[in-house]
Amino acid sequence: MKRWLPVLVLAVVMAGAVVAGSLRGGHTPTVNERVLHIAKEVRCPTCESLSADESDAPASEAIRAQIKSQVEAGYSDAQVRAYLVDRYGQDILLRPQSSGVSALVWALPVAGGVLGLAGLVVVFRGWRRRRVGGPAVSEEDRSLVAAALGGQQGEGADEDEELAFLLTSLADLDRERAAGDIEDADYSALRDDYTARAAARLRGDRVVSPTRTRRPLRPVVVGAGVLALAGVAGMAVARTAGERVPGQTVAGGITETSGERLARAAALAGQGKLLDAIKLYDQVIKDDPQNAQALAYRGWLVRLAGRSGSDPALIDKGLSYVERAIAADPKYPDAHFFRGEILLRDKHDAAGAIPEFEAFLSGGGEPDMASLVQQELDAAKQAVGTGAGGGPPGG
């Protein structure tokens, strides 16, 4: 009973904690609290490792608005989650559901933990049995070994290295016991083990002693235990490891190349995250102040921001970056298109825009863009022909 007391106490404490936790009362959450709670569990569809609650991406904004309207319409949290899964797929949830195939994600670590624990128990019990129980030693074994010890290391010990080792170990064991260096239980177990093995050698029996008998299932159990523990540890690490924030790479410490940054900036701009994209272009420009692509696209995004906020100063700033791009690489076609577009649509300088669009078309710009640029060139020529400065402001 004394042995089980700590286990009993632990079980009572844990059960008490579970009951106390489940009985804890709380106030009825408001609509905003529920929206926040659900949005925290929903993945931002266009970000990495961000919830819809944390992200300001347009898709996350739309999801938050939709959650709010459904909560206000009386949907339960589970119904809202089910709706989002229905539209985006299971991966929209940051925490996998605890039903269906997804339940495996929760069940497998638990099963792994139990299996690992069981494996360890089997292994430890085996070790204990070996230490405490030891092999069965007959009286014949004891007298055989005693005779060998009395006969100065025994007959044949010179040729048999293991026999010599076992006899020496037996003698050492007695000395350690006399000196009080070993407990009685260990002494008995080891003595029986050495005696049985030494007797087997003396009889000329080369079979491994009973304690060394291989149990076919043992490696399997140990292997399963180790694998299960590794799996559980892996899951635990994955769940508790720090999350990446936008701008960080997968490996965290590895520096992104300019090309990767430019590609990511373009993707961010495509998702409407202009500020994030501008920050990335700034990083590229910091490393390489003559990077025409970063300069041109940074300028273009600033110009877009200037237009949507009707801020002429921002448009001028955007133009200055585009002009820096042209100065850095006069053959970069996109910069010419951007300059032409700003001159035509913002500065009403159609005559100035024409050579820029022509530079794009003759400079091998993106084929997908060619028809668009041709349109803009035609518009600029028409404006010059009619005497107008430029077309209506455009995006």
Binding site: E61, D86, E162, P392, G394
Partner: protein, 197 residues
């Protein structure tokens, strides 16, 4: 204390290890070949068809005020294919795909067999109006907040082809091209006709 025991060891046979190395090499080789194969057979970015939970299901409605003030409802468009296009004026691929959408729209406007509707994705109405004034495009442009999530849209541009009986057929992520849309339409037409007696 002297609790150590000797381990008996026999001659080491290295054949299994060699075989393991061979198997590992074959596995790595096959994986690389598969990887290269997948990458080599991927469709180009334009008109990339992407999976969606909505495919094969009735299209969620798109309804709301249009640029001209009239009310639009996708449910009223049955009887012809409809391309539901989510876009924004600040999105460069959306600007690039616009002339392609125009070509597609103008070809099918006369025939009356397919229509286009654009759904505004976080944008200013004035910018959208200016965008269409400058670049043309006579199809309905609708403001519908709920549609973005109802259609599971992750970014712009994204387009969905809806069948004449209101079933979502295809989702295209990224800019569309006139040629690509015609191909999708032809495929859908063949599938629909093949399914009918």
């Amino acid at each position: 204390m002297t609790a150590a025991v000797h381990e008996q060891s026999g001659p080491v046979d290295d054949r299994p290890r060699r075989r393991t190395a061979l198997y590992a090499a074959v596995a790595v080789g096959l994986t690389i070949a598969l990887f290269v194969g997948v990458l080599a057979t991927r469709k180009p970015a334009a008109d990339r068809v992407a999976p969606s939970r909505l495919i094969g299901r009735p299209a969620p409605d798109v309804s709301g005020p249009g640029l001209d003030g009239s009310r639009f409802a996708l449910s009223a468009q049955q009887g012809k294919y409809v391309l539901v296009n989510f876009f924004a004026t600040w999105c460069i691929p959306c600007v690039q795909e616009h002339p392609q959408l125009r070509l597609f729209f103008e070809r099918h406007q006369a025939a009356g067999d397919a229509a286009v509707v654009s759904v505004v994705y976080r944008d200013e109405p004035a910018d959208v109006r200016r965008f269409f004034d400058e670049r043309g495009g006579g199809w309905p442009v609708v403001e519908d907040e709920a549609a973005k999530v109802d259609w599971g849209v992750r970014g712009v541009p994204e387009s969905f082809l809806v069948s004449p009986d209101g079933i979502v057929l295809t989702r295209v992520v990224g800019g569309v091209s006139d040629v690509g849309l015609e191909r999708l339409l032809a495929q859908a037409d063949r599938a629909l006709r093949g399914g009918r007696p």
